[in-house]
Assembly symmetry: C2
């Protein structure tokens, strides 16, 4: 699953997380010998307790379980509690698409960042939603988005490059918009998608709350902004996975043909001045994935050095093809 993010160019969510995972392990936030358990189950659903595992493993299990249930009854919906960072949400939605199913994946995040409209305190993580649907000719539709205006990684990137950030991404503790990337990185106060009340930030805030409901409340993990909660104090997060069979509603192949028709129409949409064409959700990731399958995955020298440290301390061999950039 880690390779998905690295292949697709989502560098903030792939192998680059390894040094962070080591820190979280040392703090006791990730349990590397978990007893992952299905604690509730029905024909269409399951609840998994991840016992503090790194999120990739229980999430892979959960989406596979949702897919199995979907193949039998047309719908599968699996919640996971007491988990940790699961990488890129899109990876799990894409698992359903590989089986010609519609997939949805969503997760809470370890620390609050999104400030509600008209509020000053962070109440939700950047609570991403991923949604994917199968096609025949085109690459699948694959939406993977934080419900904040931008993911925190974009602020970090601007900071690294010494650049300002656009007004509307982040704010200070009095609610004033920040354009200094250093100040924004320090405040860690992100606007909900929509930026400001005038341009409907209540919608991004509402979507972030929807994700919180489908993850922390549905699974019983504990609310993200409640630092008193035992699971939350250990940065435990929760996920929700859905698989839906288009065959419940359409004859075989009709749904995929409809998807191709929509994607073709979007690609044919007249582009704005200076733009080559309109993109469809997933296009940038698939293009990058094609490139990296041929050219390899670029890793910085600094990251490679830190990866080497992690493997040395864990007494596992360090094997890497090519040379670090």
């Amino acid at each position: 699953m880690i390779s998905y993010a690295d292949l697709c160019g989502i560098d903030s969510h792939g192998i680059g997380m390894l040094p962070t995972y080591r820190i979280w392990r040392e703090k006791g936030w990730i349990n590397f010998q978990p007893a992952i358990e299905v604690v509730r189950e029905s024909d269409a659903s399951a609840l998994i307790d991840a016992d503090g595992a790194l999120g990739h493993i229980p999430s892979h299990m959960a989406m596979n379980l949702a897919i199995d249930k979907c193949r039998k009854g047309g719908i599968g919906a699996v919640a996971v509690r007491n988990s940790s960072h699961f990488g890129a949400a899109g990876a799990y939605a894409a698992m359903a698409v590989e089986k010609n199913l519609i997939g949805m994946a969503t997760t809470s995040a370890p620390s609050p960042a999104i400030v509600p409209t008209f509020g000053l305190e962070p109440m939700f993580g950047t609570n991403p939603i991923a949604f994917a649907a199968p096609t025949r000719r085109n690459p699948p539709f694959l939406l993977d988005m934080a419900t904040s205006t931008v993911a925190i990684g974009k602020v970090t990137l601007a900071l690294r490059r010494g650049k300002k950030i656009p007004r509307g991404w982040a704010q200070d503790d009095r609610g004033r918009p920040l354009t200094d990337s250093k100040a924004a990185s320090r405040s860690h106060l992100m606007t909900p998608l929509g930026c400001s009340p005038e341009t409907s930030s209540h919608k991004g805030y509402g979507l972030a709350a929807m994700v919180e409901i489908l993850t922390t409340i549905l699974s019983g993990n504990g609310r993200t902004s409640n630092a008193q909660n035992d699971a939350v104090s250990k940065r435990r997060v929760s996920h929700f996975f859905l698989a839906l069979d288009p065959g419940l509603y359409r004859e075989a192949g009709e749904f995929e043909a409809g998807m191709d028709d929509m994607i073709d129409a979007l690609h044919a949409c007249k582009p704005a001045d200076g733009q080559r064409s309109v993109l469809v959700a997933g296009d940038p990731e698939y293009a990058e994935s094609d490139r990296r399958r041929t050219e390899g995955i670029p890793l910085s020298r600094a990251l490679v050095a830190r990866m080497r440290d992690v493997t040395r301390d864990a007494h596992v061999p360090f094997l890497l093809e090519g040379s670090a950039t």
Copy 2:
């Protein structure tokens, strides 16, 4: 169902639509003697063909069917094709909540309005999403949002009041932001939630596409921007309804208690200067509904006169309590 929008203050989607529905009927876009039919069905799902009916009736049937299936197997997901305007999406999500279930409702719209990021042509209607979840003490969580930055009704309202609109709501046919409400009303080109590429309009565009997939493609209604399609040329739309039982994952009452805890925490979030408190999705609608249950629903003289015309032409008695404002 019409009373839901009128009670909640969503005046653009309630009885005010009556004169429009008459026009659509005269054009043959709404069939007032429809043979509504369940054309496909499984334990967890159904597809309904509405035969051109006014959307309220098949949508009410569809959400009730989703609720019935949910009570048996924990999940119900019903699609509707060949339908017409169904009023406010929130009304159907709220139906699930009345049965202590999570509800989702979404719909395509009769004419394209949302312009994709980097594009110049409208490809989707304002494709709203409604999501509701039950509580014990607080009013239920109820998100009901167009996936455009604002619903078209907000531009119309600004036009009526002779006001400018904020930059970022609408654009002209060359992609330039419009602030003149008259020009925006004429262009009918709305930005996706997020406003511009710099502030993540690709997310609102992706959400609008997700709704298009769950409605027109899943039901087989025909893509909104394909004027050649027979159903689309008659302004037929499609809907998707989901009911999910929190009891699949939690013990009785736990989910509702978690919802109350989240809503209490949001209401207690430190408000920005000049704000009384942070609101939760549904708060404005419930407050207005309480007020209107006591004080009545305000109707303009102009609307009452047009309602009177409709009833006279339909040979039905016109009964109205109170006096028009």
